[in-house]
């Protein structure tokens, strides 16, 4: 038996030309690895029906259900579905960014994928850029399908002009940025991958109820409005209302106008908070693995 122990060194120990340290800092390397991660993220999502349904298509399913059940108007000439579409757009952005990342990263940490990646020369940024790529693609697809379905099936008006399209664009981007960073940070809270959904989804659900997604925001109790005003979803929903509702609806807001400046400020603020949380709390390994 032990004679086979000396099978090594038919070709001698390997000595290789080590790669230049600068090669690992080059933008080309970061781009290559980030694209590889994005491609993998999209592939995995496309094979995961639960994530597709609960994160990407959930708002579209809800639009269909609510749009079919409630046919009333929130104001003369403005259907409930029109109002609800703005809320679903905001929910959708939060789902594909915050919820999808908080759950998937918690699972990947618990599974050991993050530790495996940490053991390779992959730049850590590539992992996060892969997640960003996932959010960008799923967010864009979701928004396009949501607006198209709302328009074709429920006669929801699309943004009235370039100004409103622009609002839709920047609220989406800023909301997704905040949701992405907060989702990455929140992924450290679930203790195991199995508990990740249970610890994340209720947060998003409660936010939807208090932030003017399922109910008209101005009709919620004042204290509930105040609670919601702390979190990003309320501001995303208000931004999307500015993009999707007629100008006349601005007067129905609690402030009597679309507070787009505040929308930008709060979403940007949460983006910064998320970034700081990520930088200080992100872990590549399970708790206790040190």
């Amino acid at each position: 038996m032990s004679t086979t122990a000396s099978t090594s060194t038919t070709s001698g120990p390997r000595t290789r030309q080590p790669a230049e340290p600068s090669a690992f800092r080059s933008p080309a390397f970061l781009a290559r690895t980030s694209l590889a991660r994005t491609a993998v993220e999209l592939k995995e999502l496309s094979r995961s029906w639960d994530a597709l349904v609960f994160n990407v298509f959930f708002p579209i399913i809800f639009l269909f259900v609510f749009g079919s059940v409630f046919s009333g108007e929130v104001a003369p000439g403005v259907s409930f579905t029109q109002y609800f579409t703005a809320g679903m757009a905001a929910s959708g952005v939060l789902l594909v960014s915050f919820q999808s990342l908080a759950i998937s990263i918690a699972v990947e940490r618990d599974d050991g994928l993050l530790k495996r990646l940490e053991g390779t020369p992959m730049p850590p940024a590539a992992y996060f850029l892969g997640k960003v790529g996932l959010v960008v693609v799923t967010g864009a697809v979701q928004m396009a399908v949501l607006l198209t379905a709302a328009h074709l099936l429920f006669d929801v008006d699309l943004p009235a002009g370039p100004q409103q399209w622009l609002t839709l664009g920047w609220v989406t981007v800023l909301g997704a940025a905040a949701g992405t960073l907060l989702g990455i940070a929140y992924s450290s809270i679930p203790r195991t991958g199995r508990s990740a959904s249970a610890v994340t989804a209720p947060v998003v659900l409660v936010l939807q109820f208090v932030s003017g997604v399922f109910f008209v925001y101005s009709q919620l109790p004042g204290w509930m409005q105040d609670v919601a005003a702390v979190f990003p979803l309320k501001w995303m929903a208000e931004g999307f209302r500015a993009a999707l509702l007629p100008e006349s609806m601005a007067a129905a807001e609690p402030a009597g106008e679309w507070q787009l400046g505040l929308v930008a400020l709060v979403l940007a603020g949460w983006t910064v908070v998320g970034l700081l949380l990520c930088r200080t709390t992100f872990r590549w390994r399970r708790r206790g693995d040190r």
Binding site: M1, S2, T4, A5, S6, T7, S8, T9, T10, S11, G12, P13, R14, T15, R16, P18, A19, E20, P21, A23, F24, R32, T33, A36, R37, A39, V40, K43, E44, R47, S48, E108, D111, G112, L113, K115, R116, E118, G119, T120, P121, M122, P123, R285, D289, R290
Partner: protein
């Protein structure tokens, strides 16, 4: 052969509060060698290896891996290592080839992914999702990811735990293939037969300390330990004699008695030597 060891560990300590998981471990790994770190569960094998892999900070001691301090891992250094960690359960929704291709992009001079899949014996499963692989084939995928960067040093942390005998033998053949290719391999295991087949050198670790170093053939002095010679005498009773010169004894017995009934010459096995080195009462009981 370069004179510098691939791995040099000098008086390594890793403490968690008052618990000393690693308590003064030293050993060298020669480039091109298969080096086994052998010990019971909880002996400190994986903690030691995770320090060497750059995952864990050490409490004290000197450690050099491929000439660098793993306490300050750089991407260039990581690109020269391959890591096959203990049991893994990630990567479920991707196929074998997709995973290997992804990891190839992380390295400056990767091996060709399709060739790696072939080499680890997963060509039949190239389009199978990782989640659908059996335990043994799943481990081959881990090895594929460990070697796709064409590493100089490969860590295998308890690679065959839970395998059936056939899968273990196939896996050993794969490791021998990699060793023959010149890859330095640091293997942790608690299987003696694995060490006997694969290792050029080994250290036995127990209670966070190295209790012996050597080769599978000479561990614990078993190559020079007295042999027990056993035979049946004319009356049919068993006779056993311990001797340092078993050949001489057998020749003498043959001269006196002719052909010997039931003759056997027994040197301490690797298992005997190993168990006699461990501190646990149970192991001492068995080895006695």
């Amino acid at each position: 052969m370069s004179s510098e060891p691939a791995v040099r560990v000098t008086d390594l300590h890793k403490h968690y509060g008052s618990r000393r998981a690693v308590d003064g471990v030293s050993f060298d790994v020669v480039p091109g060698q298969v080096f086994a770190l052998l010990g019971p569960n909880g002996a400190g094998k994986s903690t030691t290896v995770e320090v060497l892999e750059g995952y864990r900070a050490r409490t004290a001691g000197e450690v050099s891996v491929l000439g660098a301090d793993p306490g300050r891992p750089t991407p260039a250094w990581r690109s020269r290592l391959g890591i096959v960690a203990q049991s893994t359960r990630d990567l479920s929704d991707l196929t074998v080839t997709e995973v290997v291709r992804q990891f190839a992009t992380f390295y400056p001079h990767p091996r060709r992914p399709e060739a790696v899949v072939e080499q680890v014996g997963l060509a039949d499963d190239a389009r199978t999702r990782a989640s659908a692989l059996s335990g043994g084939r799943r481990r081959r995928l881990d090895v594929a990811l460990g070697i796709v960067g064409d590493p100089e040093l490969l860590f295998l942390d308890e690679p065959t735990t839970g395998f059936d005998p056939e899968a273990r033998r196939e896996f050993w053949a794969l490791v021998q293939l990699l060793a023959a290719d010149g890859t330095t391999i640091l293997l942790t295991t608690h299987y003696l037969d694995e060490v006997e087949v694969l290792a050029d050198a080994l250290a036995v670790i127990d209670g966070g300390r190295i209790v012996a170093t050597g080769t599978p053939a000479d561990l614990g002095g078993r190559d020079t330990a007295p042999a027990s010679v056993r035979w049946r005498d004319a009356g049919g009773g068993w006779r056993t004699e311990l001797t340092g010169e078993p050949a001489a004894l057998v020749a003498r017995l043959h001269a006196q008695l002719g052909e010997l009934d039931g003759l056997s010459v027994h040197r301490p096995t690797l298992e005997d030597a190993y168990l006699s080195l461990l501190s646990s009462p149970a192991a001492q009981e068995v080895s006695r």
